[in-house]
Amino acid sequence: MEDLIVAFLRSGTPLVYVTLAGVIAQRAGIWHLGLEGMMITGACATILGIVLAQSVLVGLVAGALFCCLLALLFWFVVEVLKANQIIAGLGLTGLGLGGTALTLTAIFGSEGAVSAPFGLPRLGAAFGAFGGLSILVAAMPVVVFACWLLLCRTRFGLRLAACGEHPFAARATGVNPVTVRLVALLLGGPLCALGGAELAAGSLQIFSVNMTAGRGFMSFAAVIFGAGHPLGATLASFFFALVGALGIRAQLTYGDRIPSSLLLALPYVATVIGLWISARMRGGNTAFSRELGQQ
């Protein structure tokens, strides 16, 4: 049982951080499909920081900076150039995945995996079975609470939500949605970097090309599943992580009977089912297609 909880926290924590970044963007009115690209950038920067500068802090700061740079680029394209959020988000993801692969090749000569001599600080032996978890796992509830406080209990959070729900109303009260969205995306930068850092340096201490494997998109699905609320989205990403952890457990127990690749697909199937349930409960838009950037 303890193993299961540890596995669950390990796979859930990166998702939660990235999901929070998605929630902030979602509330400000931006569909953030670039989460995957920012997450892998954070993961890559953390491992490279540890390998090249022998310092976790350098890695985390570099990750946050690069993620903020990507967020700035995304904001410029989406808000200033008015590009389609979905396609631009996919482009940002491609930039993160391709850029990290390119960086690895430029530094180490090949697109392989880079392993670091040490990872994020651990909780330590005092926590027993949970001692192997990183401090970011322990910090996660605090960050979730802080996000909830910021989004649901402050004037800034209300303004942010207004920009997402009714930009004209926000503008009428003197709030500029374009600026607020910049702040929202920049807040998401460090969160994505932490998510990527936990994924790469939390337990594995390794970075490999494409290692996020769709976790960013899963986080985005958690945002939608959780109706854009920080706590709801956190619960949704816990749910996806739980399905993933149960899948790994089932693989260990029934691996000879159930093909492992189908168990690996479980979190994605859960995402689809979760989306279906949430759409049914909230009465999704069945009639109308979305407005398309037809040229």
């Binding site: 394209v77 530094i107 985005f220 189908l262 994605y268 689809v272 109308f288």
Partner: protein
Amino acid sequence: MTGRLYPVIQTGAFILLALILCSLIFAAVGLSATETLRAILDGAFFRPNALSYILRWGLPLLITAVGVVISFRAGYFNIGAQGQFYLGAICAAFAAEWLRGSPAFVAVPACLLAGMAGGALWALWPALLRVKAGADEVITTMMGNFIAAQILVHVTSGPLKDPSGSGQQASSRPIEAAWRISDSSGSSLIIIAIAALVVLLGWWLVNRTSFGILSGLAGRNPVMVTWQGAKVQRIAISAFVLSGALAGLAGSVELMGPNGRLASGFLPDHGFTAILIALVAGMSVIAAAFIALFFGALTSSGLWLPVMTGLPSSAIDIINASIALFITAKAGVFRGLLIRLRR
């Protein structure tokens, strides 16, 4: 004339912007931007047999891209082309396995049709979730891509596994030699004919049928189309299924043609590139035919780069991603900025 030329100039301007971003990224990781871009162009257009490579990579992309055009025009972001492409290849491979021993004129069309059916089915469930429950198709089709990739891993290492196969990549038994619609160089008259047929039918469907006109309107103004009494749900499902069928056809063409066997994780960027082609082509089927050949050239260059110049193939991913970032931007913004500056 200016009305027709303007979107072309706009697209060109944003592609230039994308290339500038690429150059910055190349420079940031210590590659020479001009040399990298020149090497990419060399690999794309000026290597021996360039045309044959362009056709090999461009034509399957074109088939998928026509499907993407159909669903995007209807206003549905079916970004599951990759999954539908995989399912098409998987179903064609199963058909090829069951039909082993039958003559080629039965087996080849049957496999291609099985591929189309597979792709269509993989597009059908997100379509139903969309119109019946209102689940957003962007996420469901994207999750469909990941699930399809796992199904491909499962199929190539389980039911269709080549028992004599060795090496790291799991793959199925090879397609019978007599059934291959091209050799492994991948450009043959049959594939050219299939792609030409897809373009012609796609153009006719989009521009000359009531489905095409209504779906184009539904993409721009669904409220109006609904009030006029058109069945928007039916249009939506048809658009999804058609785009899935074309992606599936591309998958089976890749299987029966250049690949010759099903390998796990083959062509992972196919769907994304096809979406880019549709967007760069401005949702026009005819333009997509030319743009697809350009992206086919880029794809072939990506395989050439590491071998001939030692440059990483992810350079091509960066170019594609930057184009995706900028391609839907609206140039009208610049005019707005100019007006504001003049004040």
